[in-house]
Every structure is written in C-alpha cells, then in structure tokens.
Symmetry: C2
Subunit: 162 residues, 2 copies
C-alpha cells in the first residue's frame, strides 16, 4: 500500500536555531525582551532561534537567527534533531537545531537589539538552575543541549581514538 497524503500530518509552524558550545561545554543563550504581544517570554532564556519563514530552509533560518539574536556567524555542523511540540493553544510546532561553530566576524551581542537584551554562555550547572526555576523558555532547549553534549562527547572519543 502507498502511505499517501491522508497519512501526512501538516505542521505549519516551524522554528530553527543553533546550539553553540564553548570549550567548557557551556551553552550560548539569549535573553528575550518580549515583543508586544509576546510578553509571556520576556526575561526568559533560549538558544538563538526563530520562525522558519515561508520558503526558507531551516538551515538558513538557524544561521540567520544566530546572527540576528546573538551576533554569531556560524557554520552548522551536526543536526541535533527536530522536536515536535504544541503551543498552549494546541497548534503543532516543529523545532530544529544544529550544533554550530562560531566563525570569524562573530560579535556575541544582539544585532537586533529590540528582541534580545543579553547574550552569554551559561554553564551546565547554571542551566539546570535556570530550567528548574522556569527561566529557560522551552523544554526543547534542554533536550537540544543534552543532545549537543552527547554529540560532542562522541566526537571527542572519536578524535582520541583516531
């Protein structure tokens, strides 16, 4: 039988972002100001990420948002996954993230300053505290960070063995 169109589940809202780690395994986060109509996220931390625009490839979204929100020019390395979620109103959202490497030209401050108030590396321990106190915007950010640490550990094992 053919798995036809009736078995397709359309997901109209997609987002994409980057996990950037430093040598200590800290993760680069941005703190949102919250635009008018989005005040529920004001003050919360997340990875540089945003909505995949119509016709945009999620990789290009991730690269664009890394620059706009965090002032980081990136090369996307490993795909960390696509995670499915719902907004509080029930609408499905698919979030993509890549483990990314900062390139020359990165300034590590928001380029679109009206959206982001702060950009900094957060340690694994501090991340745990921020998450537990509701200061990390999304559970998916936690899953992407955990996957990034796993991927990095595997890469280091491979390099050590090579």
């Amino acid at each position: 039988m053919q798995f036809g169109e009736s078995l397709h589940v359309p997901v109209t809202h997609r987002a994409a972002g980057v996990v950037v780690l430093n040598g200590a395994g800290d993760i680069l986060l941005v703190r949102e100001r919250g635009l008018p109509g989005q005040m529920g996220k004001a003050g919360l931390w997340h990875i540089p990420s945003g909505t995949v625009e119509n016709g945009e490839n999620p990789q290009d979204t991730a690269t664009r948002e890394a620059w706009e929100e965090a002032g980081v020019r990136v090369r996307l390395n490993t795909f960390l996954g696509a995670l499915l979620g719902r907004f509080p109103d029930g609408v499905l959202v698919l979030r993509h993230a890549w483990l990314a490497e900062p390139l020359e030209g990165s300034v590590f401050r928001p380029v679109l300053g009206h959206e982001v108030s702060e950009v900094r590396f957060v340690s694994e321990v501090e991340f745990g505290t921020l998450y537990a106190t509701g200061k990390i915007r999304m559970y998916h950010t936690k899953l992407f960070y955990e996957e990034a640490l796993r991927v990095r550990a595997a890469m280091r094992r491979q390099e050590a063995g090579a």
Copy 2:
C-alpha cells in the same frame, strides 16, 4: 511562561534518507523486496532511507542507508526537511531527508540485497506516473523530491549570479 514538558509531543519512530539527483534532475530510487511482515511494501519505490536506530543521529542513518540500500557513498548537503506522518495504525513518524552528493566508491546497487531488488534513477515524468499509480511508497518521497528540485534550482541561480 515556560513551554515545558507537557507541551512536548514525543515521536518514537523516526526515519532518515537521502535524495540523490543526477545532472538531469532524475532521482535515485530503490525498489523494495518487502521483508517478511512487511509485504505491503514489496515492489514499491522509495528513496534510500530507513529507521533511525536508538542513539543514532538521523544524519548517520541517512548515510548508512544510502550505502546499504543503494550502494552510494554520500556527502550530505542541504537538509530538505523533517516531515510528520502517521502509520496506518495512527503511530506518529518523523521522516528526515538530505540532498546528498554521491562520492567515489559508489556502486549504485544494493549492498543489502535481501531488502532491495533494484536501484536506478527515475525522471521527474516517470516519478509522476509511478506516484499516480501507487508505485511510490510514500507521499513524503514526493515532497522531498519537490524540495530537492527547488533547492537545486536556487543553488544554480546563486552560482549563475556569483
């Protein structure tokens, strides 16, 4: 507010594969034999792809399946997307695909011959006919192929302008 764990939608079944195009824009497809218990797919065509195993990165799945099913050594280029679907029993599945480039060492025949009976390039016109007659396994294959042609056209425009 935090978009916490209650807004996460777990997808336990994931698949990943590759779209390989030739110069004419034909797509590389494999024809499945159908293993015992999977006879519903016998004789149908799909892209080289398969299940993401536990702990496996979808990129590695795509690369592995390209070799096992089609004898193609690939470099993954552009991410073509992650598409959500359901199996006929209602279980969610997330399918990932990359536009991939064949590398030296490719043999273009099944390496795991018990799963695949045939490997060949199919033109856009023939693909349309195969799809319309129910011979393409998945609607998602059609969407990935369309996206690959769009990505390739955009790359060519960029190269021509550069």
